[in-house]
Amino acid sequence: MDYVIVGNSAAGIGAVEGIRSLDKAGRITLFSDEPYHTYSRPLISYYLFGKVTEDKMYYRPPDFYERLDVTARLGTRVNSLSTAEKELVLESGEKVGFERLLLATGGKPIVPPMPGRDLEGVFTFLKWDDVKALEKTLYPGVRTVVIGAGLIGLKATEALCHRGAEVAVVELANRVLSAILDEGAAGLVQESLAERGVRFFLENTVAEILGADGRVKGVRLQDGTELPCERLVIAIGVSPNTSLAQGTEVAVNRGILVDEFLATNVAGIFAAGDVAEGYDFLFRQRRVLPILPNAYKQGFSAGVNMAGGTESHRGGFAMNSIGFFDLPMITAGIVKPESSEFRELIHTDAAKRVYKKIVLREGKIVGFIALNAIDRAGILTGLMEKEIDVTPFQEHLLRENFGYLHFPKEYRQQELWKGVLKRERA
């Protein structure tokens, strides 16, 4: 079997490991437009912050490709895909055939089509090179504007702030991290960053990038405010990098549409990771879930299915573990429910800067926020994934020591004795 994988991040690596779990012999060729050995994209902000040295950036040990017998063609851009010919055309014009193809091209930064975006000092914040380029230009006190207070924007802000930059964040929504926090939690995060000198301009956006002799020197916001800055980081968001699928029969919506086996509508072609649009069983619709754990799982399942196995990926949901300076938080699923079918359980402790919220629907947990109280949060994730009816122990969910002891004994034993429960208990 001849496998080709386009993409060298979590999804691509997941696919390699998925394939090898069934097919030790098949030929795997992996393409990446970046020169690097597989590295972890989320760690780029850790790198900028200085918490992670170069060698710790890599997602797998150096001998990974060799050990799993993968031909890794790094720094090679794939230009186009011909589904009829079942072949790829590289930038160099070389044609590469495939029997199974995985599109794991990840996401690309959203850059507003406004003049000045190509000025010197304007950076996106998605790839390792973006950060390396930005890092070279930093000096203490450099005034930087970050567009977007999402996960990427704030992680960039945290790193820049730590590196001595004076940062100002411009965000369209009424709060930071609007995708994963509600107003209550977001307020606490904003406050903790503000204490470190970060200025926030919410419900606002950049109307015009001001430049002078090819270099950025400031931005004019929608409400007219002008912010002088030497550096501008565009972190509005990420959209699926579906370029290869454009113009082919491969169905694409926002991301490349895949079924529960991560297969596209074209036989033999699969997609996984930030580029794919799978099913979100909480939102009960197809959605792009650009988070690493989801990418790896989709990649692994895709690999298994490409190698002839059948592993259905029931679909995931958004989940994040992120922290700014010493304020960690874990969130998952629907955190800002709109309709009445949802119920919210909230516990806050302003003094300790703790904010806990659990969102219920039909007796099941469909989302939660655990700000500055992240210990054992995975128990809630587990309950969400298995869609467990939590009504019997609902009143304990927000307790600090919430755990297995609050579950009914049968459920607890069934879960904790899993290793031996297969055999009937004597």
Binding site: K51, R412, G419
Partner: protein, 152 residues
């Protein structure tokens, strides 16, 4: 593979398992007093006793067959040893992003209170070999280390 199972009907809630686990993973694995009194930061146990008497039991990593934490780890530090099945966190590569805590359905991964901000979890005492110290030191045989049912 052999795992540690808690028989809650025999757990006295004394938490000696936590004490000895912390010591075994401290700088003084053979000196409980130094481990607690000399080590700058109190050693962290990798087993956690959930207690709300009369219910109590010890809970540690289940070394799951398809471990969600190894799939979610953004640095590749969390790996399941293909031979022994033990899920081990390579603390030199862990960046303390807590994604493993996000996905572990048992809440068996903790933030290392030792201050160097890495994920701390049970390694089945595979480094010092033999019987996990929590099992060895349970005064009431509430913890059993087995791969098939024992004494039910």
């Amino acid at each position: 593979m052999k795992r540690v199972y808690a028989r809650e009907e025999f757990c006295a809630g004394c938490k000696l398992c936590e004490v000895h686990c912390a010591v075994a993973h401290s700088e003084y694995p053979d000196d409980i007093i130094k481990a607690f009194l000399k080590q700058k930061v109190k050693p962290t146990p990798r087993v956690l006793v959930e207690e709300n008497q009369p219910i109590s039991f010890a809970l540690q990593c289940r070394h799951c067959d398809d471990a969600p934490c190894t799939k979610a780890c953004i640095s590749g530090a969390m790996q399941k040893d293909p031979l022994t099945g033990v899920v081990i966190n390579d603390e030199s590569r862990c960046v303390g992003c807590w994604t493993c805590i996000l996905v572990c359905p048992f809440g068996a991964v903790q933030r290392d209170a030792g201050g160097h901000k890495v994920a701390s979890k049970c390694d089945l005492c595979s480094t010092n070999g033999g019987l996990p110290v929590c099992v060895q030191n349970c005064p009431n045989d509430a913890l059993v280390f087995t791969d098939e049912l024992w004494g039910r």
